[in-house]
């Protein structure tokens, strides 16, 4: 297990009520599971689509790199890694 810093923004931060938290996890999927357990229903509804996959309007970055171009949810994490969950926002 590694201690990972997670940054939430936009609609996800609004439902979780926090922007920065620390999570114990060794992979990206464990981070998301940890967040789901911690923040529950409304958070999960925003994060996951009907098939249980992260919604496409939410970008996930590990140390600033898009998880789709790493090992997706299997991306392994080390101590002090930074995970960012960034939903699209449209305001102007």
């Amino acid at each position: 297990m590694s201690t990972v810093t997670v940054s939430l923004s936009g609609a996800l931060a609004a439902v979780a009520g926090v922007t920065n938290i620390e999570v114990e996890a060794s992979s990206l999927s464990e981070v998301l599971t940890g967040l789901s357990t911690r923040y529950g229903g409304a958070f999960n509804e925003k994060l996951y689509d009907a098939n249980g996959k992260p919604r496409r309007f939410i970008n996930i970055y590990v140390n600033g790199r898009d998880y789709r171009f790493l090992k997706k949810l299997d991306t392994e994490l080390a101590n002090k890694d930074e995970v960012s969950l960034i939903p699209a926002v449209s305001g102007g």
Binding site: S9, A11, R55, N59, D66, V89, G92
Partner: protein, 386 residues
């Protein structure tokens, strides 16, 4: 044609001219350049003001809205006396006052698939200051199809994002966000609020990137998504990648022309009003009909589903307060035998709450059409609109 600067322009732009990174050559590039600002609201205000002051030779503005009181907290191009005027008229007046040396071109129309290509074609750089997902995807697709840089920013509450999408050199908006959020999943500024200064910061970032695009100098925000949080007062940066499977700029594109963006974003009526329409007349009640029912002393239970800080601004005396997010958990506080009227600010969240209760077995439900705004207009002017 050789671009020259007049003595007056040399004086006006002297702080640019004495920096070798801009200099006379750079200032002439700015004078020769054309930039289209889509939207002259929160982001568009500082963006257009700084571009005008910087001496961008031709600035196009697209908007069809009129100035509203609720715009004034952040849309600094528009003043109190402008309320009710077309935004373009108000914006053009201020920009010409800032810099009469430049040309301001007005496109007073809703930016749409029908006019977007024709409007954008004549500009070097496009700046996206719109406020909704359909127009963001439209702006992206126009820029990809025309090969133009799209200088992007967007805002939500205390947070801003900025990037430059230029498909020939990096990812486009669709590479980041292949699909829009389902309607209602991400609140707009009108629903979620926005700190007034935030578009000032992010619109100024946009203006900076536009000027860098024109000058061809510096390290642009291409392939970089800049994130700002005003509460944390922290900037972060992530590196979006060009998606080889992107439907418009990928290796095998499937989008070759503009599409129906409202349909793409799952919006059939321009906004969430669709939610209310879908309810049908039987589930709606107008403010004056509700007032009549209350006068007749029939037992009507009013349930206000807004948030606590909104309840503090105003509410109808005697109403019960259950925020939308708590409706299902607290529905045991309501009686299925009662006539229940659901209330929010404009009638959209209450329509959603009505659907939740209907799916849970409640049948004697109605939605206050127009919400508290409608109530203030038609019944009780002592209720403030916000």
């Amino acid at each position: 044609m050789v671009t020259e600067l007049s003595h007056q322009e040399i004086l006006r732009y002297s702080r640019h001219l004495i920096m070798p990174e801009v200099g006379l050559a750079g200032q002439k590039k700015l004078k020769e350049a054309s930039v289209l600002c889509i939207g002259v609201g929160g982001l568009g205000s500082p963006l257009a003001m700084y571009l005008a002051a910087a001496g961008v030779g031709r600035i196009g503005l697209v908007d069809f809205d009129v100035v509203d009181f609720s715009n004034l907290q952040r849309q600094i191009l528009h003043h109190t006396a402008d309320v009710g005027r077309p935004k373009l008229e108000s914006a053009a007046e201020k920009l010409r006052a800032i810099n009469p040396e430049i040309e301001i071109v007005l496109h007073e129309a809703m930016f749409s698939s029908a006019n977007a290509m024709d409007i954008c074609r004549d500009y070097d750089v496009i700046a996206d200051g719109t406020d909704n997902f359909p127009t963001r995807y439209l702006t992206n697709d126009v820029c990809v199809l025309l090969g133009k840089p799209n200088v992007y920013a967007s805002i939500f509450r205390f947070e801003g994002q900025a990037s430059v999408f230029h498909a020939e050199k990096g990812p486009c908006y669709r590479c980041l966000y292949p699909e829009p959020p389902p309607p209602g999943m991400v609140p707009s500024c009108a629903e979620g609020g926005v700190l007034g200064i935030l578009p000032g910061i992010m619109g100024t970032i946009q203006a900076t990137e536009v000027i860098k695009q024109i000058l061809g100098s510096g390290d642009p925000l291409i392939g970089r998504l800049l994130l700002f949080n005003a509460l944390d007062m922290r900037w972060r940066e992530v590196k979006p990648m060009k998606d080889p499977d992107c439907p418009i700029c990928g290796e095998n594109p499937t989008i070759h022309e503009l599409i129906d963006y409202e349909q793409f974003c799952g919006i059939s009526m321009g906004s969430e009003e669709a939610h209310v329409e879908e309810l049908g007349a039987d589930w709606n009640i107008t403010p004056s009909d509700l007032n009549s029912e209350l006068q007749r002393e029939g037992k009507v239970v009013l349930v206000d589903v807004r948030e606590p800080h909104e309840w503090d601004i105003c509410h109808i005396t005697g109403s019960t307060f259950i925020p939308e997010g708590d409706v299902l958990a607290r529905m045991n506080e309501l009686d299925t035998a009662d006539d229940i009227v659901l209330i929010c600010r404009t009638g959209i969240r209450s329509a959603r709450a009505l659907n939740q209760l209907r799916e849970s077995g409640f049948t004697k439900l109605r939605n206050l059409v127009g919400g508290l705004h409608g109530w203030a207009d038609d019944v009780d002017p002592s209720i403030p609109k916000y």
